[in-house]
Amino acid sequence: MKKILSVVVMVALMLVSVLTFSRQAQAEELKMVGTISKIELSADKKSATAILKDSKSGEEVTILVSDELTLDKFMDKRIVEGDEIRCKFEKMDGKNSSKMFKKTAGC
């Protein structure tokens, strides 16, 4: 019985490892500079989607933002539609999750 349990646990661990590795392998980090055409905050204000128009290709890319500082900047309009953004994001499971979301302009 103990042997069977050990085998089951081993297999489960291997599956978890393989799945985790596969997910990491699927994640692709991309970067872009683009102008915000739309910002939409979720009802609980814990995430938002921002649509950026890639200044190179003209293509619209939807970015999922969940870091507190950027969400705060959306809420008090330090970042608004029309602002130009330098963004790094991770493409995984059909979603583009923001890893960096900063206005290009300084002073």
Partner: protein
């Protein structure tokens, strides 16, 4: 952390929460009568607008008495200083619309974008018009709509900064929050976290984690802000601050060995082990961006990604065309070892007198033509004789923010192991002293005991 400090921090957190929650007196009157700018504030705070015009936040300059090679009777600061993190100043890079780039796009830019006036009343302006141009709410409102603060052209073609003077913003006021401060202070030098490379997010700053905000340490008196002693931050309101005071005593550690270090080691050295942001820029070579504008080539890291450099500092500053940094030595009796964010910038120097030249960014932003920027700056500053040659300047920025939690502060072995962060030889110690300072005998028993306690 001692019980006393914990109690003080808890007190600060509670006070901050109370202050935030408590409504500012006069809210009903503001809601009833609306907000008419500083004159509304002056109903209860007479004289404060004029007072503010005399501060560094408005003048972007002050007399400076701790820096080499400057005129003690002149005022220096963002208004007129030139160095290679910015290579411009409020005067040269006065807020303006840049010429169209190759894609026909233009934009507003200028060093004085963050000046809390309306640009018609600008850096250092005085008089009743300037008093009424102050954007009190950008620092004092919790509900400031930052989208309302932007550069636009007025009907007569002048570039002005608009402000949020809404009743809602005015009715929600108090002491400046971290957000109020960082709205300007995080974006200096070319973008978020570029210049000083520190973050005031809870995860990055232990004081913020405990509910302490900027103005709890920078305790403002009559709109004058105490500052630390960053070698590259010259303008000051005449008051300075240190860690030692109502929160931290001169013997802040339980461990007497740590307390002994205080005579020669600044608090920041152990408690701010990392820095970040831009570490090098080249103003002679601008890179074209995908939006058609150009930016100076910049090497940068995220916050907490860079190791500081350490040097003796007696709070006076060496200032030459190719170096701005701490003065001091092991033997002068005044210096302590401090951490610095080191930066190296390339820009044009005047071959005729060796001085660093300034650059007006309007042309380089639009076309990448850096020499056109130098020529424009020379015209603005009245420099007729110049021959631009590229060269490098090294700058030491003070590393005074982003204090790490206690368990991430430097401990004995971080400095005294052979691969420690302090280069004792460069700090002036003899080979024999270095041998003693890097002998495990100094710390072995103490660290072993700590290790056993934590296991």
């Amino acid at each position: 952390m001692s019980g006393k400090i914990t109690v003080i921090m808890l007190g600060c957190a509670l006070l901050a929460a109370t202050v935030q929650a408590k409504e500012h007196p006069g809210k009903e009157q503001i809601l009833k009568e609306g907000y008419q700018g500083p004159k509304t504030c002056e109903t209860c705070h007479p004289g404060k607008a004029r007072e503010f015009l005399g501060t560094v936040h408005w003048k972007h300059a002050s007399k400076v008495d701790h820096v080499d090679n400057i005129d003690p009777n002149e005022e220096y600061g963002m208004k007129n200083r030139i160095y290679t993190m910015c290579n411009g100043s409020d005067i040269v890079n006065n807020l303006k619309e840049v010429p169209p780039n190759a894609l026909g796009k233009t934009k507003f830019t200028g060093c004085n974008t963050c000046h809390p006036g309306d640009h018609s009343s600008d850096v250092g302006s005085t008089g009743p018009q300037a008093e009424q141009a102050i954007d009190c709410l950008i620092c004092h409102s919790f509900k400031y709509d930052f989208s309302k603060r932007k550069a636009v052209k007025s009907e007569d073609g002048k570039v002005v900064m608009t402000q949020d003077r809404s009743t809602e913003a005015a009715a929600n006021i108090g002491r400046p929050t971290i957000k109020n401060c960082m709205a300007c202070h995080e974006a200096a030098g070319g973008g978020a976290m570029i210049k000083r490379g520190f973050s005031m997010a809870q995860k990055d700053e232990v004081h913020v984690t405990k509910g302490i905000i900027c103005v709890d340490c920078h305790q403002v008196k009559n709109h004058r802000f105490p500052t630390g002693r960053d070698p590259n931050n010259w303008a000051n309101d005449g008051i300075y601050m240190t860690c030692v005071g109502e929160c931290h005593s001169v013997t802040p550690h339980k461990d007497a060995d740590y307390n002994r270090h205080i005579a020669k080691i600044a608090c920041q050295t152990c408690h701010i082990p990392k820095t970040g942001g831009a570490f090098s820029k080249d103003f002679t070579k601008w890179e074209k961006q995908s939006n058609g504008f150009y930016e100076p080539s910049t090497l940068k890291r995220e916050v907490n990604e860079t190791a500081p450099v350490y040097a003796w500092y007696n709070l006076t500053v060496s200032n030459t065309p190719h170096f701005i940094g701490p003065k001091g030595s092991r033997t002068d009796g005044k210096s302590k070892i401090y951490p610095f964010k080191i930066f190296q910038g390339k820009a044009y120097f005047n071959k005729k007198d060796g001085k660093l030249l300034s650059m007006d960014f309007a042309s380089p932003i639009a076309t990448g033509d850096t020499l056109a920027g130098v020529a424009s700056a020379a015209r603005i500053l009245g420099i007729k004789e110049y021959e631009p040659v590229p060269g490098w300047q090294t700058i030491y920025f003070g590393s005074n923010h982003q204090v790490a939690p206690k368990n991430k502060a430097l401990s004995c072995a971080n400095c005294h192991a052979l691969n420690g962060v302090l280069n004792f030889k460069e700090l002036g110690y003899s080979p024999k002293e270095v041998e003693k300072l890097t002998n495990p005998e100094l710390y072995f028993e103490k660290l072993l005991k700590l290790q056993q306690e934590n296991e």
